[in-house]
C-alpha cells in the first residue's frame, strides 16, 4: 500500500469514517440527551457502530464480544439499574449538572491535545486491513497460549466482582 495523505481516502477509509461518525454522533447524544432511557438506546447505537469499526479493522472476535457483552449484557444491566432506581421516563431537565463550562473546557482541551498528538505522531501511518480477520480460533489460540495467566486472574476478578455485587445489593432486611 502506498503512502497516502489523510485527505485521499480509500473505500475502507470511507466505510470506517462513516461508522465512526455514527459512533461519535450517537455518543454525543448519550451525553447530551434529556431522556435517560434514550441515553441508553443511543449508547447501543454508539457501541454497535464501534463494533462495526472493529469489523473493518479485521478484529472479528472483539467485534462479536463487543456486541455480546456490551450490547447484550451491559446495556441491559444499565436498563435494570434505571428501573430499580426509578429513573424518570420522559424528558427531565436536571440530568446535566452545573459545571457544564468547566467540563466542556476539560473535555475539549483533552480531545484537542490527544488529537493533535495522534495526528502529529501517526498522521501518515498506514495499516493493512486486507489480511485474514482474527477469528475466534486465532484469538482463542492467542488467549490460551500466551495470555493464560492474565485470563485466569481475570476470571478470579470477575468472580470476586460477582460476589461483591451480590453482597452489596443484598438488602438489609435479608441480612
Amino acid at each position: 500500500m502506498s503512502d497516502q495523505s489523510l485527505l485521499s481516502p480509500t473505500g475502507v477509509d470511507l466505510v470506517f469514517a462513516l461508522l465512526a461518525l455514527v459512533a461519535v454522533a450517537s455518543a454525543l447524544m448519550v451525553v447530551s440527551t434529556t431522556q435517560i432511557v434514550h441515553a441508553a438506546l443511543w449508547l447501543v447505537v454508539s457501541l454497535g457502530a464501534v463494533a462495526g469499526c472493529y469489523l473493518v479493522l479485521t478484529a472479528e472476535f472483539v467485534a462479536w464480544m463487543q456486541v455480546l457483552i456490551y450490547l447484550g449484557a451491559v446495556v441491559v444491566l444499565l436498563m435494570f439499574g434505571m428501573m430499580l432506581t426509578r429513573a424518570p421516563i420522559g424528558p427531565s431537565d436536571d440530568l446535566t449538572g452545573t459545571n457544564r463550562l468547566v467540563a466542556l473546557f476539560a473535555a475539549v482541551a483533552l480531545t484537542a491535545v490527544l488529537g493533535v498528538l495522534v495526528v502529529d505522531a501517526f498522521g501518515s501511518t498506514m495499516i493493512d486491513v486486507s489480511g485474514e480477520p482474527s477469528s475466534a480460533s486465532v484469538m482463542g489460540e492467542a488467549l490460551f497460549r500466551h495470555w493464560v495467566l492474565p485470563f485466569e486472574a481475570l476470571s478470579v476478578l470477575l468472580l470476586s466482582a460477582l460476589v461483591g455485587a451480590i453482597a452489596l445489593s443484598k438488602s438489609d432486611e435479608e441480612a
Binding site: 449538572g97 459545571n99 468547566v102 467540563a103 473546557f105 476539560a106 482541551a109 483533552l110 491535545v113 498528538l117
Partner: protein
Amino acid sequence: MTAPLVMVVLPAVAAVVGLLLGGMSRAAAATIAVAGPLAALVVAALLAAEQPWDAPIVDAGFHGVLQPFPAATVVDGLAVSVALMVCFVATLVQIYSIGYMKDEPRYSSYAAFISLFTAAMLAVVVAGDLLFLVVGWEVMGLCSYLLIGQNWEQHEARRAAVKAFLVTKVGDIGFIVGVVVLIGTTGTTLIPNAVQAASSDSTVATVASGLILLGVLGKSAQFPLHAWLPDAMAGPSPVSALIHAATMVAAGVYVVARLYPMFLASPEVLTAMAVIACITMLGAAVIALVQSDMKRVLAWSTVSQLAYMVAALAVGSRDAAVFHLLSHAFFKALLFLAAGAVIHAVGSSALRDTGGLRQSMPVTFMTMSIGLLALVGVFPLSGFFSKESVLVAAEHAAEGDEVVAPWVGWLVLVVAVVTIAVTAAYALRLWMLTWVGPRRGEARPIHETPPVMYVPLVLLAVPTLLFGFTALDVGALPTWIQANATQPLATPGALTPGLLTIALSVTALLVGVGVGLRGRWSSGIGDGRSFLARGLGVDAAYDWLAVRPLLVLVRWVTEFDSGVIQRTVSGVGVGTVASGRQLQRTQRGDVQRYVSAALTALIVAVVITLVAVAT
C-alpha cells in the same frame, strides 16, 4: 578487672544498688552504704601492702557495648596514698551519716550518692587515661550538685547546688578544652605518655596546663571560682566533710599533682597559680575571721588551706602539696564532722547559738580541739608538718632552686606565714565561741552525740595527731608518694621542717593567738552581711560582670523571641488557618468538580511538558 578498677567499681556498685533498692529498710541501706567505701578501703590497703608494684600503668581498657572503655589505671604511691585517704574518710563519713541522717527520709539515695561520689573520686585518683579522668571529674560535679541540694525543700540549698554546679562548670569548660588540647597535640590519651610529650614542648605545656588550671580553680575553689564552696554549706555536714576533705576539692589539687611534669614545664602557669593561691589563701582566711556561721568559718578555712596546696604546687613541690592534701583531709573531715555533731546537738550552725558546750559534749570538744590545733599548725599535729613542708618548699623557691622566679617563692612564703597568723586567730575565735563562755541561743539540754557519730571523730583524730610524723623520718613519705612514679620529681627529704620556717611559723602563730585572745568576739558575731563576710564582694563582682550582662542579653533574646520568632511562628499558624478557610470553600463534596480540577491540571501539565519537549 584489675585491682584499681575494682576499687572504683565497688562503691559505684553500692551506689547503684542503693539507688535501685530505694525502698529497702534503713539498716540494709546503711549496710550497703558503708560496705561500698569499706570494701574499696580494703582493696586500697591490699594495693598499698603490695608495694613495690611491678607495672605503673595498667592498661585494662575493657570492651564496652560500643567501644573500648578507656579504663587504663595508674598505680603509684601518689594514687594509692590518696586513694587510701579517700576510702578512709568516705567510710567514716558513711558511718557518721547513719547517726547524723537518722531522721532523713531520703537517706537511701543520699548514701548512694555519697558512694557514687567516692567512686568518682577514686576514678580520678587511679585514672591512667585522660578520658577516664574526665568521666570521674564530671560525675563528681554531678554528685556535688545532688548532695549539696540534698535538702532541696530549702531555697538556699537549691541555690547553692546550682551555684556549685555552674561555678565549677565554668572551670570545667577550660578543663575539658585543656584535655582536648593535650590529647590533640600529643596524640595519646594515656596520662604518663601525654604528660611526657607535653612537658617537652613549653607552648603545649603552657596552653594545656593553663586551661586545665581553670578546671582546678573551679573544683578546688580557688579565686575567682571559689564562691561556690562557702555556699555549699547548705548541704548536710557529712557532705561538707566529704567535699572539703576527700573528694571534690582534693580532686583539683590531685589532678595538678598527677599532671605535674607538664605544669613544671610552664613557669608562667606556675606563677599564675602562686599569685592566685596567695590571693585565695590570705583573703579566705580574713573572711573566715568574720563569719557568723560555724560551717562557713570552716568552709573559708578550706579555701584558704587549699590555697596552701596550690601554692606548694606552684613553688615546685608536689610532695608538699600532697602531704598537706592528706593531712588537711584528715583534720578538715574531723572538723566538719565535729561541727555536724554540734549542729546535731544544738540545732543550729550559727555561732550566736553556741558557746559553753565543753562540758556537755566532751568527745566532740576534744576531737574538734585537736582538729583546730592541726588546722592552725601546732606541733606535733599533722597540720604543723604539712604546713611546714609548704613553707620549706616556698623557701627553696625563694632561694632560686625551683623553676619559678625567686620572687614567687618570697611571695608565697610571706603570705603563707601571715596566713598562719590569721588562721590561728579565726580558729581560736571559732573555738572560743563554740566551747567556752556563756551558752547563747535557746536553752535546751545538750547531749553528746551517739557512738555511731563520735567514733568516726575519734578515728579521724588518730591520723590528725600522728600523720605528721611520717615526715620526720627523712624521706619516708616522699619515697612513698613517689613510689613507682613514672617521672621522679623532687629529692626526698624536702618535707622535713627547716629551722627558719619553724621560727617564722611559730612567731606568726603566737601573733595570731595573741590577736585571737584579745578579740572581743562574742560581742560582735555579726549577721554575716558585711563586705568581708560576703566574701570580699566576689559574688557582687560575679553579679556585675556576668549575671547582669547576661540578664540584659536574656532580655534582648526574649524580646527577639517574642517579637520576631513568636510572631513568625504564630503568623505561619494564622496564615495557614486563613488560607485553609479559603481552600475549604472548594471542598464541597462534589466529585465531579474534583475530577474536573484534577483533569484540567493534568492537561495543563501535559501541555507544558509537550511544549517543553517540542522546543
